[in-house]
């Protein structure tokens, strides 16, 4: 049957909605290969239609299969693009190596371009009135208190606060910090809020 490999690929993408899987290079290659085979058969049969008119319908059927494969392939890439966007918002512009590994080279390039475009948009915000931009990855939750208590989950290193103080974030250390200055680290899983 036509286009079955590509369906497996899509089901895979649908299954894990909260994570991104390794880019399936091998399967994508096979699908493109299948398309070339169909195309070649069509070229041959299209030339033979003068003798055998009914071959024309066969050519059309294969053409539909080609369109179908193309649609599925694009849908696969597009669903990954959406996940990669989420990676930018949640991990920031630098991906941890184990996540970076899951993307193909050209996906990583897309990630970088997306990130650059986003950064230049955010920098432009409020420029007319003398702002140097606004970081939209912050202030994502309705504010509740100015300071919160946090537990550090990894050995992160030094963090310089807006008032100039420098604190050392090491695993299992506890801190009382301005919410505005630690919300990103919380989202990135480096700190955890203690209630």
């Amino acid at each position: 049957m036509f286009g079955e490999k590509v369906i497996e690929l899509l089901k895979e993408a649908e299954r894990n909605r909260d994570t991104i899987d390794q880019y399936n290079d091998e399967k994508v290659r096979q699908i493109i290969e299948e398309m070339h085979v169909l195309f070649k058969m069509n070229m041959a049969d299209a030339n033979a239609t003068t003798e055998n008119k009914s071959l024309w319908t066969t050519v059309q059927v294969r053409h539909s299969a080609l369109e179908r494969n193309k649609r599925c392939l694009l849908a696969y890439l597009y669903s990954r693009m959406n996940k990669i966007k989420t990676l930018r918002w949640e991990f920031g512009s630098v991906l941890p190596p184990d996540v970076r590994e899951l993307l193909s080279d050209s996906e990583y390039e897309w990630f970088s371009k997306y990130s650059t475009n986003l950064a230049s948009y955010m920098r432009s915000l409020g420029q007319d009135i003398g702002y140097s931009g606004i970081d939209l990855t912050e202030n994502l939750r309705p504010p509740k208190s100015l300071y919160i208590e946090v537990l550090c989950l990894t050995d992160y290193g030094k963090l310089e606060l807006e008032d100039g103080d420098v604190i050392l974030l090491k695993k299992n250390s506890r801190h009382f910090l301005p919410t505005s200055e630690c919300q990103t680290l919380i989202r990135q899983g480096i700190l955890k809020q203690i209630m």
Binding site: M1, F2, G3, I7, L10, K11, A13, E14, D18, T19, I20, M41, D45, N52, S54, L55, T57, T58, Q60, V61, S64, A65, R68, R71, C72, L74, A75, Y78, S79, K83, T86, L87, W89, E90, F91, D98, V99, R141, K144, S145, I148, T179, Q183, I186, R187, Q188, G189, K192, Q193, I194, M195
Partner: protein, 195 residues
């Protein structure tokens, strides 16, 4: 048109991958493989075979049509009668995972034009199943007879319910790790443990 049927929608691709019974009205050279029961190279006029909806639609839309599309059994009169009498007794998970979506595509092949009404009636009647499944304590058995989208809708309602009851019970909501970051951490931990 809504989002569900856009070109890049994976769920629409999966719906259009469902098989429907067709009868071939013309010979199709070299397409014998579409009929698993046949060993011939060519597909002969009059062959009845189940093929994916996307292919069926493409063959049907030729002038003249290359196939006639028959209704899958869940849309036939026998089931329509049951559905119209009491739709809530039917296990759509077993009989039609994509009951409504596939039904919307297939409705035009119903000469009597009754599939449309059955879809509307069924949807209306079964809405209360979603309502009770989303509030049910025994959610597994309440979910069982639901179609894919009904299940998704139930999950959506249940997560609203959960967010609301958490809000009612708790004071402030702690800031938390971003969704994808957390899922990737979890997956990484699981992988580490397997080593």
């Amino acid at each position: 048109m809504g989002n569900q049927s856009n070109y890049l929608s994976i769920s629409d691709i999966l719906v259009t991958n469902e098989k429907v019974p067709c009868k071939f009205l013309h010979d199709l050279p070299k397409m014998g493989f579409l009929d698993p029961a046949s060993t011939e190279d060519d597909l002969k006029t009059g062959t009845n075979v189940e093929i994916p909806l996307w292919l069926a639609e493409s063959l049907y839309s030729r002038r003249p049509p290359l196939v006639s599309v028959d209704l899958p059994k869940i849309y036939k009169e026998a089931y329509r009668e049951i559905l119209n009498a009491d739709a809530c007794t039917v296990d759509l998970h077993k009989l039609g995972q994509h009951f409504y979506e596939l039904g919307c595509y297939i409705a035009k092949h119903d000469i009597k034009g009754e599939v449309g009404n059955t879809l509307v009636n069924t949807f209306r009647q079964r809405f209360r199943m979603i309502l009770s499944a989303s509030a049910s304590t025994d959610s597994i058995s309440a979910l069982q007879p639901l179609s894919d989208t009904e299940r998704e809708r139930t999950a959506g309602a249940a997560s609203t319910e959960k967010a609301l009851s958490t809000w009612l019970k708790r004071g402030d909501c702690p800031l938390s790790t971003a969704n994808m970051v957390a899922s990737h951490r979890k997956r990484k931990r699981a992988e580490m443990e397997m080593l």
